[in-house]
Amino acid sequence: MEKQTVQITQSTSGDSRLRALIKTLSKQKMLMLMSLPFLLWVIIFKYIPLWGWTIAFQKFRLARDLFDQTWIGLENFRFLFSEPQFYLVLRNTLVMSGINLVLGFGTAIVLALLLNELRRMYFKRTVQTISYLPHFISWVVAANIVQTALAPEGIVNVMLMRMSLIEQPILWLGIGEYFWGILGVTEVWKNVGWNTIIYLAAITSIDPAQYEAAEMDGASRLQRMWHITLPGMKPVIVLLLIMNLGHILESGFEAQYLLGNGMNVEYSENLDIFVLKYGMQMNNFGLATAAGMFKTVVSFMFLIAANNLAKRMGESRLY
């Protein structure tokens, strides 16, 4: 008997909790409905494909059932981690990613600050449009522009020679050590305008009263930028930084693939190109998947570390 009572109380408390849940659900019905498609999207396109990770443990052959595949355990990972080339491309990936991160953030923030200070709307719009434009060019075209500009008879060499800064044309893309710099500059040229958009949006949300107060207190323009605009942008900057650190092993593919050549291969080849050559082109999808898993794990570690750091420093964060 005693037992039964206990059960009854339990189920009533469960019932009330359930009722509360249903109540909240019905209150937020619209919100739930609106988020449902995205939840479905995430499950179908992001979680179900995780099934494909099994490929990393197979000598995978296309167009065959799971049961017809040969399982080889960690062989693909062993190949990957025992390959000297792998560590070279890992270095290149991290360095290029780092350069893109630092340059990308730095230039976009500075440009956003400068644009914000512009008073002539017409000029501001023009600058913005011009700086956005390269973002919409495909990498194939952009790479061709860069190759042409950097050729021995290209505009860069011609200009440097006219200014007597160099005597012989420099084969820019033929000197491996220059590649990271060239890539960094190219990325900035292509994406700086685009990257400023979100910062400009963050700046508009800063209360104008703060500026007025600062002006009354006699703060100079630079001081206003430093003490009001930048702190106002900080939450956005931190959030973006966390998200970008999650992509630390994605240093891009097209730019390196298209601008890379035999002479700079030691600096230009990144993880994605390595996977393309030893994985995809040889039909070795197991290796490609193994590399993909490795990337995911590293990205997760970076993401969590950055998020914890932000938490500890009391900044806004992802979760």
Binding site: Q147, T148, Q281, N283
Partner: protein, 562 residues
Amino acid sequence: MMRNKKWLRSSVAVMLAGTIVLAGCSNNESGGSNAETGGTNGEVSTDPVTFSYFSFGTNKDVLASETTIGKILQEQTGVDWQMEFVVGDANTKSGVMIAGGDYPDVINDVGQLPKLLDAGSLIPLNDLIEEYGPNIKRVYGEHFDKFTEDDGNIYILPFSANVNEYVTEPDIGGGAFWIQRRVLKEFGYPEVKTLDQYFDLIAQYEAKYPSIDGKDTIGFITSAGATGEFFSIANVPMHLAGYPNEGNVMVDMETHEAKLYAASDYEKQWLAALNEMSRKQLLDPETFTANKDQYLAKLTSGRVLGYFNYGWQVGDATNNLKAAGDDDLRYVALPIVFDESVRDAYIDPPSFVNNRGVGITVSAEDPARIVQYWDNLLTDENQKLLQWGEEGVTYSVNEDGRFVMTEEQIANRNDNEFKRTYGWAYFDMDWPKYGANSTFEDGNAYSPLSQPEVAAVNYTEGDKALLEAYGIETFSGLFAEPQERPWYPAWSIKKEQGSPEQIFNQRVGDLQVKFYPRLVFAQASDFDSIWNEYLAEFNKLDSAGYEAFVTAKVKDRVAGNW
């Protein structure tokens, strides 16, 4: 508790919904490909039908009946073709095609055969050929064993089954060292046999005429910087040593041993020569960096004195130069070797390439109809149509029964645009056909440019002067006759996907891409130490294993087991 269960139930429901959606998709697909098998009953039908043809080579997409040849063939058979060609990377495309099971009716494999066979994408043709292919048997009969797979089935029809008398091509379409004609003219058409003589001639000319139209001349280039064309520089040692294009090995004529030439003395000698040219500023500094467009632009500019390429790599540039009409700026192919005593082997020996061909996929709804179409292609009449066109329109027959062409007809036969509208660009290759060195039963050459009467009309005044200066009839006259190599070509030996041999090739390729530029642009004093570094890296790879693999396959072929 309840709440948890509810969650579980709803997530199960979502998963289920997801699976149903996915299952729905895959059902549709398999339904589509199941419907194919029916509907083949022995009769030759001429009902109009359009099949799809996909090639892993590059060309412009077309509907076959929009070309003259395609239209004539459609009238004969009722079959039309939606022809599509690969865009971007063929390896990636084939992977996507196989993974999705989304096949055209017919595939021209261009190097993707191992993958397609591995995935079971192609159907066996043996029974279909037996039933519908009298002409296929006539043309391919004696070669069947060369392209029968280990399981006893035939999956593709290759393009190189030569029939009747064997003729060699009068002009060089393969690999060679090319030199600008004004260079030869300047020095009174000297005989150029060795690499030293060749580079020396270029150096002398460059010293005399350092610029053209205000731009610096370029002594020597190759298209090593173009995507996927690194072989333009890496293959050269093999040719200089007197071997034909076997890929990455040289096969001894007597012992049939295959030797890699990467990291050999031959390679060292070649790179040292390039290094010397580079230090004399005669080698294009952009050798490893110019992309294909930049490269072809240089070739057509007339600034280049010499280059190494396979003819088909630079066809557009040479055609344009010919059309431009300045003979001095055109190029002529030379059979350059390391040493006077070496017999050159630039011209391909009679060969049967067994891993390039067209096959029918498992998605084809009416394979019998396709085999009938192919069989119809292989009649003497249609083979003439596919190479020569229509009598009285694109060629004529003289009183001796020989096929001849006027200058205009030849110009059309060579014109890229005309070839597209007429259909040669789509039909004179990459379908079941006679090999390029065939003759017809009436003695006329299969390929128009192999017909001496046509070659003679095709030559410009400048061509004729050059031929006369060297006392030869055709441009191949400078080259040695090819010798019998029954295993040729070694590059067509199949390597398993992801096999040690395939990975070995990739690794060697990676090493070469890395070290060639360093070696070529090195200071004279550093060359040897970089070379030793390269050797050390190379020796880490299992080259002996690779050579043993190729040697065994070559010996199999010599013994008649292809």
